[in-house]
Amino acid sequence: MMGKHTKSFAGLLIMAVLLVCLAGSSLGAPSAAVVDQWEIPFLNCLTGPIASIGEYMAWSAHRAAYEINQKGGIKGKPVKIVDYDTGVSPEKAVEQMARIVNKSLVSLGPVPEACIMAAMPLAVRQGLFSMTASTTYEYSTQFFPWTLSWYPPTDKHLAPAAAAWAKEQPKMKKVIQFVEKWACWPSMADAHADGLASVGVETFTVEVPTDAVTFGPLVVRALAQKPDGFMFTCTSEKVAKIIIELEKYGWKDKSKILIFSSADDMPLYTTGRDSLNGCYIYAYFDGAKETPRWKTFKENYKKDHGGLDPTSLSTIYYDCVYMIKRAIEETDVTGDPKKLKAERIMIRDYIRNMQDFDGIQMAWSMKDGIPSDKGSFLFVIENGIKKCVTYVEAWK
């Protein structure tokens, strides 16, 4: 207790001294905060059918804020994540964005794609940098430079992942891809097909209806085309259900199944269970790799989620909060409402080209709003745990 207080007091003292020095020398190096706390709004989907995704995204942002505050906050002031619920409704998204657009330095979200499309034009008009980290390049790029993407252009970075899988399965010639028509998934599916084509594998598409109740008919249809393998571009729950059906219809070779990154979510594992053993999946995050921060994150996540493991999607906004922390610390941002406009641009420009960001599991750099050296991992699922097979080089 004592130590912590001393530490933060010492920190404050050093800060104050620094401030005096810097003010005197007017070097333009980081200046102190004028706000009492850093309020970061998070436009997130907390109601409706996909509220579970919003829940863990909010959880990770709050987790990051808690950690930062434990260690003295940003420039000595605590950070506070304020949740704004958008549901999946564009109308709510715009209204919530309107509440923060004139007062916030930077914001997190919005989360589902419908909300991004509705709310971002307003953010762009008012000049608010909003970190739509969980969405794909297609959506973010529409609003550059006022957004960023966690992912490089879809066609460029998905193709190598799919191709890497195909190289592991040399005898595979014909693959059926299950595609659900939602947001940018069709274009992700095209990227997969391109990647497979580059190593001589032909792809056929079977569409997954959004409101399907059973998947037997779909699997019969797919199997009737006598494919050598399957690739999935649909919601995690549906992936699991289709794999179970495939098993029912006698499909044995699980290594000839590849699941795309967006399905790397809890429902895949809770619904699919044993049937997933041997399936391939690619993602941008190797959960088996232990770092101290990741370990703590995982333990706390499990504690708050009835023992369920976090997935690669759950850390996105955790890293975002740390990015904001670094951007504020490394620039002149003070949080002064009078300088809001300029400081927003400072944060934006810093984050968009942040070098060697120390993420929860790995370091990477951003270039013009997209990661420049972030590759993907190809995994095999065994008893609900992803075992890394190979690392796929980043797109350049």
């Binding site: 509220a51 829940e55 569409e207 209806p209 249809r221 029912k248 369920l308």
Partner: protein, 291 residues
């Protein structure tokens, strides 16, 4: 041919689930004069109860009992709401639709907020069971067998109850003319509650069979199924029990065939288009509206 047979089998097992749901839905429509849009959502809620009980016991009988009991209890518990509604609005089924739609929203949101952190629930693998019969593309799982034969048994029992027993006659009398029934001394309210209870019983059984057929459930399942149940009921002619039987089954088969044969992204739209044409030609439904 092999594909066709496989799809037919898939369609039949799904259709038998729709039939059960449409039956319960129509029963409340006929006797209580309400559109219970939230009925499929209640069934999904019972699936969650099944799942909860399964975590503590493997006893099949207990699970079925819990599912049936919960569905009956919840269904009977909401009866007073609709009774009060009828008292306020007369027998305005439009308003009952509005209210039940809100109930559906309520149930979905409670499930996605409170139960299993909003994640889909999964039933033990042995519940769905491996294929009990498999030949080429034709495969038949234990879950499908439960759905199909359980469905047939439940429907048979339901029609026996309705057409061969005294209680069934009472229910039918009320559905035909509730005013006259009350004059000749049939206890209207008691019988209405009975109809909710029977629908709850059917719902509880459906939940168990659904769990075995699908192997999992999610908060959004009620909405997916709900629309189809209402559509089947309307397509048959609102409240037409036998028509509902046919249309429920046909819907299951049509859905399987559409996914199995029609061009990818348009399969559901084509199915909807056919329904639209039928509705435009015969707005009262294929079999006509009953009482």
């Amino acid at each position: 041919m092999e594909i066709f047979a496989a799809q037919l089998l898939n369609g039949l097992s799904l259709g038998s689930m729709y039939v059960l749901l449409v039956l319960g839905f129509n029963l409340m429509l006929l006797v209580a004069k309400i559109i219970q849009f939230a009925y499929p959502h209640l069934v999904v809620l019972s699936m969650y109860v099944c799942w909860g009980v399964l975590r503590h016991t493997d006893n099949m009988l207990l699970v079925v009992l819990a599912s049936v009991a919960s569905c009956i209890v919840v269904n009977v518990a909401i009866e007073p709401i609709f009774r009060l509604l009828a008292k306020r609005h007369g027998l305005d089924i439009n308003v009952s639709f509005v209210v039940s739609m809100s109930m559906a929203l309520l149930i979905t949101d409670v499930m996605s907020h409170l139960l299993n952190y909003g994640y889909p629930i999964a039933f033990p693998t042995e519940w769905v069971g491996k294929s009990i019969f498999s030949s080429g593309l034709i495969a038949f799982s234990a879950g499908q067998a439960y759905a199909l034969f359980g469905g047939i048994a439940a429907v048979a029992a339901f029609f026996y109850l309705l057409y061969r027993t005294r209680q069934g006659r009472v229910l039918r009398a009320i559905s035909e003319n509730s005013l006259l029934s009350s004059i000749i001394g049939i206890p209207i309210i008691k019988t209405r509650v009975l109809s909710y209870a029977i629908a709850g019983l059917l719902g509880g059984l459906t939940a168990v069979m659904f769990a075995r057929l699908l192997g999992s459930a999610s908060p959004g399942l009620g909405d997916f199924v709900g629309m189809k149940v209402v559509a089947a009921s309307i397509l048959a002619g609102l409240g037409n029990l036998k028509g509902g039987l046919v249309c429920g089954l046909l819907l299951g088969i049509a859905e399987s065939m559409a996914i199995g044969y029609l061009a990818g992204s348009w399969s559901n739209a084509i199915a909807f288009m056919m329904m639209l044409v039928i509705m435009l030609i015969k707005p009262e439904g294929l079999f006509g509206i009953e009482a």
